[in-house]
């Protein structure tokens, strides 16, 4: 089976803000576009115009409803792609060494020339973050846009994953989560970022920022809201005249 590096120089990953994600799928399609044209085989689509179309996507947004103990139900949008785990079971399970975690930055990749499409890695991943490309018969997964983030043919500001560059609400952040001083690490600290399913022991690098509490009053609900100056028009005009005098 395949070995994980004992440590990586960086821990590159995503921080996804669930308080801000509006569920627009911009990241999903931008990812599909970039990774169809770039790293490895194109992301194919079966039954593209027919019943039950199924294509390969490296990133998907799921929506859930949450019913808090008090108050109205809430809708949460939850984007999910490979979390580039430190203890990535998809790598250790790989029989050919095709799945690997990069020593330089911790990105988990599939070397498509060595992939035999056995699907063990998808089975081992507790997050369901890998998808077998039906046409090519190789395993596809988020590459963290490894062909963008160091790409000298791109302007420096564009050297980030396609999903991050395109996110209209700014809900996706990219950086080195191994560096406590990085913007993403600070954001995780400030907002109480969490691991997805920590009990799985995979030590995911990607972090999620939880939604802030909702449906709470911004002012003291026990205080009188607005003190009336008048209950009806005549009294109001008296107040108006006095107030205009002061202006």
């Amino acid at each position: 089976m395949t070995q994980l590096p004992t440590s990586t120089e960086k821990k590159l990953g995503l921080v996804i803000d669930l308080d801000t994600c509006v569920g627009c799928h911009a990241c999903v399609v931008s990812c599909k576009g970039w990774n169809t044209e770039n790293y490895g085989a194109p992301l194919s689509d079966q039954n593209a115009y027919g019943a039950d179309p199924t294509g390969t996507f490296l990133n998907r947004v799921h929506s859930f409803e949450v019913q808090p103990e008090r108050g109205a139900a809430q809708t949460i949008h939850f984007p999910k792609s490979c979390l580039h785990c430190e203890d990535a079971p998809c790598v250790t399970v790989c029989p050919t060494g095709a799945s690997y975690k990069r020593v330089e930055d911790g990105i988990v990749l599939v070397n498509e020339t060595d992939c035999i499409g056995c699907g063990l890695c998808a089975w081992a991943c507790p997050y369901g973050a890998r998808e077998m490309d039906q046409k090519e018969g190789v395993m596809k997964k988020c590459t963290l846009c490894v062909d963008r983030i160091y790409n000298e043919n791109l302007p420096e500001e564009d050297r980030q994953p396609a999903c991050v560059r395109t996110c209209p609400a700014g809900a996706r952040h990219f950086g080195d989560l191994g560096d406590e001083t990085s913007d993403v690490s600070k954001l995780v600290a400030e907002r109480g970022g969490i691991d997805l399913m920590p009990e799985q022991g995979t030590k995911p690098v990607n972090k999620y920022l939880p939604p802030r509490p909702k449906d709470e009053a911004a002012i003291d609900v026990l205080a009188p809201f607005l003190e009336p100056v008048a209950e009806e028009a005549t009294g109001f005009l008296g107040w108006l005249d006095r107030t205009l005098e002061k202006l």
Partner: protein, 939 residues
């Protein structure tokens, strides 16, 4: 560790071509990466004012749209019966010959027999020019069935509305309320703005029966009963008046609140605003206690002023407002049941707005001079802001509801101030600065002026001498006097009924009228195919232009195939629907980043050809030759006024902005500049635009208008009062008796709320409101019926609330029969807990007709997908008076889509397993798409 060696710097593309997206109406800038002359990848343009680099799901899927198998390939002539979808491909020459053969005789005898309606057109200043040159009064785009209430209420009230007209001050606002916005209009800027607010921790309140999309991330969700937004808003207005939390100085200086209203009940000017001998609005100057012109230097308009004359008291608008809004009918306790919002919540939200606007006011140390000549040392901001769209406007009370929202913004002093709502050039622009509607028809001659515009009273209605409607859609009539965008949803129905008259040729563009763009889809299909006693079609001829094999194609006799958005010229023009920012004027182009590989032509270029063939003025030179070779030629060389053309940038020798001679290299300069041009507004001109002398001068300089036109906001709408006066019996142009009472009650010059045809729609028998929303990743079919996006939104169940779910004992996989006074559908249901109890909804326009859009007949869109349109009639249920009452706002004619009332009952699964009604397939002129895709153009 044997890591493979990766090429970390692969070549991204051969070339980047920068143009404008058209996957929805947002008009973001895009970088189209080309490889081997083909489109390889599309991303947002970082420099572009609209999207600043980001791009939504639709925009990124543009590559699939550009290559969609549903693209039409050549002009088509119908060979089977209408609706069969049987066509033969013909040449453009033959297509033009057919079209001219139909249109030329009409123009020479009765130009009104052409009805030209252009749907989701982004070139209305051009298509309207064509229609005007032709001479028909029957022209409009799709605004009447979209959001005319929003646009018209904004312009009549304050000189601009939301979206293209203005935006919140995203960088400074501290509390933001979103009313009736699903997930669209305007797509990326709202998401970017919400992202900014979230980053700063500003409060977002979503008012919407459905908690999805933007409402899902709102800090507070107000799950209002549909159609009651106006009542909720006026209850907050009531609270703010009662507490005196009103920006009195702002109202006195910048609105018509201090203007005197004629109180002489006997006068024919009763209820109109009083004017001095120079025809200027009259206020009482608090300094002198005497009447004065509103714009006199140094005047202190008195909100509490009044004059007594000949036994009558003329009070200010503001005093009328206080009387109206302090009335207990608007007290939170009295609206709670109707709106479904607890009185405590209404009071608290009013208090939060007041707290942010007045206790957390912001000040910018920027000096500015107002139109009265007074210089102010600071700009005071009320950092509360609002945005709204179809959720509040697509009701029969939508116009007044939109006005109510503007009233709320204005009494808080939050329009055109830091932290509030800001106009985008060419707005602000008062109603008087817009044209009035024209309908003067003369055979063989152009129309006597622009079709659409803003009426100011009964004299401006588009009526014939006998008082009958001049337009086929009955826009600008007593039925809906202020129908600034026309009523596209009534055109086919009226043409079929011959009411007000019969037409000969229906010419449409980008309008899926036999499917999701019409109310009463099944009925409209029948109207389009109906024959008279002679066996001739009741609507004799139909020409249609579309880029794709949409449902409407089958119902036309002649198809002019349009290009995709990457194959065409367009201008996103200040003369049209602009894309400016609050701090800059901006416009943009589309250009053919790839040439079409089919025999298709941009619709506007086809109109240049057809216009020349018909000899239309403006489309031919003096010698009769064709004036514009194509749309690109028009964009470059047309001048609307001397020196002012479709594009503001790079005019003259290339360095003039706004005004300047046509520049033959203008399009190249746009391309070099990333597809757009910008003209920034100086810092001291960026706020208070309607009253800021510096802004007004700048607007004249760049050609937005020809003389400064400062104005005050119209809290009291005189045009509305003029219609009301007529209904009360004043004047010579009188409404028909059956509309008199409606005009009297609905056209109140101050914003009011009335229920949205609940009795007419039989709300007692049909207690649930049924709505549609657009998902963020799927807009109109034109932009988004493609292989990638249909995997995200390929299904549209009917979402029902927990209450409806439990009441019917629904379980997963169940079906429901949904019945309205007009019809019934049987559809799959799904539970949504975060939903108003009495509301059901589905995604708009996911359902497709079998045979359309190059889909297989077993595609879920065509089997399980459905339209609510089958339940909505373009007319209200008959009242027994023999009249056809349109299902529209009585003021503007806006299609009242969201007044739909239904009953929901559990039903057995249909025997064919498909949503009902299940219309028979139409033949496809393009076949179906490939089974599998693996799209990669590079090596």
């Amino acid at each position: 560790m044997n890591q493979p060696k990766l090429n970390l710097s692969p070549k991204v593309s051969d070339e980047v071509r920068k143009t404008t997206c058209y996957m929805c109406a947002c008009r973001c800038g895009i970088n189209v990466h080309m490889k081997d002359g083909k489109v390889a990848y599309i991303e947002g343009n970082r420099d572009h004012p609209v999207n600043q680099g980001v791009l939504c799901a639709k925009g990124s899927a543009g590559i699939m749209q550009h290559n969609a198998p549903s693209r039409l390939r050549a002009p088509l002539k119908r060979v089977g019966e209408r609706g069969s979808g049987e066509f033969e491909e013909i040449s453009w020459d033959e297509a033009y010959d057919i079209a001219a053969g139909w249109l030329k005789p009409i123009r020479e005898t009765a130009p009104e027999k052409l009805a030209f309606f252009t749907g989701r057109d982004q070139s209305q200043s051009f298509t309207s020019m064509w229609a005007q040159a032709f001479g028909t009064p029957n022209y409009a785009a799709h605004g009447g069935f979209c959001s005319v209430n929003m646009a018209a209420a904004g312009i009549y009230t304050m000189g601009g509305a939301f979206w293209e007209f203005g935006q919140p001050d995203w960088d400074r606002t501290k509390m933001f309320m979103l009313f009736g916005v699903a997930e669209d209009h305007d797509s990326n800027p709202i998401k970017m703005g919400l992202g900014k607010l979230k980053k700063r921790g500003a409060k977002v309140v979503g008012v919407n029966p459905i908690r999805s999309g933007y409402n899902a991330v709102a800090d507070e969700w107000v799950g209002i009963n549909p159609g009651t937004d106006g009542l909720f808003i006026l209850a907050m207005v009531h609270e703010l008046f009662k507490a005196g939390k009103i920006d009195l100085n702002y109202l006195a200086m910048f609105t018509n609140a201090p203007v005197l209203v004629n109180g002489d009940e006997k006068s024919e000017d009763f209820g109109l605003l009083m004017r001095d001998k120079d025809n200027k609005l009259m206020v009482i100057d608090r300094a002198t206690g005497k009447p004065a012109a509103f714009d006199k230097k140094g005047v202190k308009p008195d909100l509490a002023g009044s004059v007594r004359d000949a036994g009558w008291t003329h009070k200010t608008v503001f005093q009328h407002m206080a009387e109206k809004y302090l009335d207990p009918q608007y007290a939170p306790e009295n609206v709670a049941e109707k709106t479904g919002i607890a009185a405590e919540t209404i009071k608290r939200l009013a208090a939060e707005l007041a707290d942010v606007a007045f206790n957390q006011a912001i000040e910018l140390d920027i000096e500015w001079t107002d139109f009265r000549g007074e210089t102010h040392s600071k700009m005071t901001g009320r950092p509360v802001s609002f945005h709204s769209m179809r959720g509040i406007s697509a009701h029969a009370n939508g116009f007044q509801t939109c006005r109510a929202l503007h009233l709320l913004q204005i009494i808080l002093g939050s329009v055109e101030v830091p932290g509030g709502f800001r106009f985008k050039p060419p707005y602000p622009k008062p109603p008087e600065a817009h044209p009035k509607p024209h309908c003067g028809v003369k055979p063989g001659q152009p129309l006597d002026g622009p079709h659409l515009g803003f009426v100011h009273g009964p004299d401006d209605l588009a009526l014939k001498e006998d008082g009958s409607p001049a337009r086929i859609d009955k826009a600008f009539t007593w039925d809906n006097p202020m129908s600034a965008h026309g009523l596209m949803h009534m055109v086919i129905s009226n043409a079929h009924a011959g009411d007000p008259y019969k037409i000969d040729t229906l010419f449409m563009y980008m309008a899926n009228m036999s499917w999701n763009s019409s109310m009463n889809t099944r009925g409209v299909i029948d109207m389009l195919t109906d024959k008279d006693e002679n066996g001739d079609y009741v609507i004799p001829r139909i020409i249609y232009s579309d880029a794709y094999s949409s449902e409407m194609v089958a119902y036309a006799d002649l198809i002019l195939p349009d290009t995709t958005y990457l194959e065409r010229h367009d201008c996103i023009s200040l003369l049209d629907r602009p894309i400016c920012e609050a701090e800059a004027a901006a416009d943009a182009i589309r250009w053919p980043v790839v040439e079409p590989d089919r025999d298709v032509k941009g619709f506007q270029s086809a109109l240049c050809d057809l216009g020349a063939k018909l000899g239309l003025p403006g489309f031919v030179n003096e010698d009769g030759s064709q004036k514009y070779a194509d749309y690109g030629d028009y964009i470059t060389n047309h001048e609307r006024r001397p020196g002012v053309g479709p594009l503001m940038g790079f005019r003259g020798n290339g360095d003039e902005t706004g005004r300047g001679a046509p520049n033959p290299n203008q399009l190249d300069r746009y391309i070099e500049n990333g597809g757009f041009a910008m003209a920034h507004i100086a810092e001291d001109h960026q706020f208070y635009k309607p009253w800021n002398a510096g802004y007004q001068d700048w607007a004249v300089k760049i050609g937005i208008y020809d003389a400064p036109q400062p104005y005050v906001f119209n809290l009291w709408s005189e045009p509305m009062r003029r219609f009301q006066l007529a209904a009360e019996g004043h004047g010579t142009r009188q409404p028909p008796d059956h509309l008199r009472e409606r005009i009297k009650t609905k056209m109140d010059p101050l914003p009011i709320w009335y229920d949205a045809n609940e009795a007419e729609n039989k709300a007692d028998e049909y207690p649930i409101t049924a709505l549609t929303q657009r998902p963020m990743a799927m807009y109109h079919s034109w932009g988004t019926q493609n292989a990638w996006l249909r995997q995200i939104h390929g299904r549209n169940p009917l979402y029902v609330s927990q209450k409806v779910w439990d009441a019917n004992g629904f379980a997963e996989g169940d079906w429901a029969r949904v019945t309205s006074p007009h019809g019934e559908i049987t559809v799959p249901v799904a539970l949504q807990a975060a939903l108003n109890d009495n509301t059901v909804w589905t995604w708009n326009a996911i359902g497709k007709r079998k045979g359309a859009w190059a889909l297989e007949e077993d595609a879920p869109e065509a089997t399980k997908g459905f339209l609510l349109n089958h339940l909505i009639h373009e007319l209200l249920p008959p009242k027994g008076d023999g009249l056809r009452w349109s299902n529209s706002d009585p003021i503007t004619g806006q299609a009242a889509w969201f007044d739909l009332k239904v009953r929901v009952e559990k039903a057995p699964a249909p025997s064919d397993g498909e949503s009902q009604p299940n219309l028979k397939p139409i033949s496809s002129p393009v076949g179906t798409g490939p089974e599998n895709l693996a799209w990669k153009v590079g090596k």
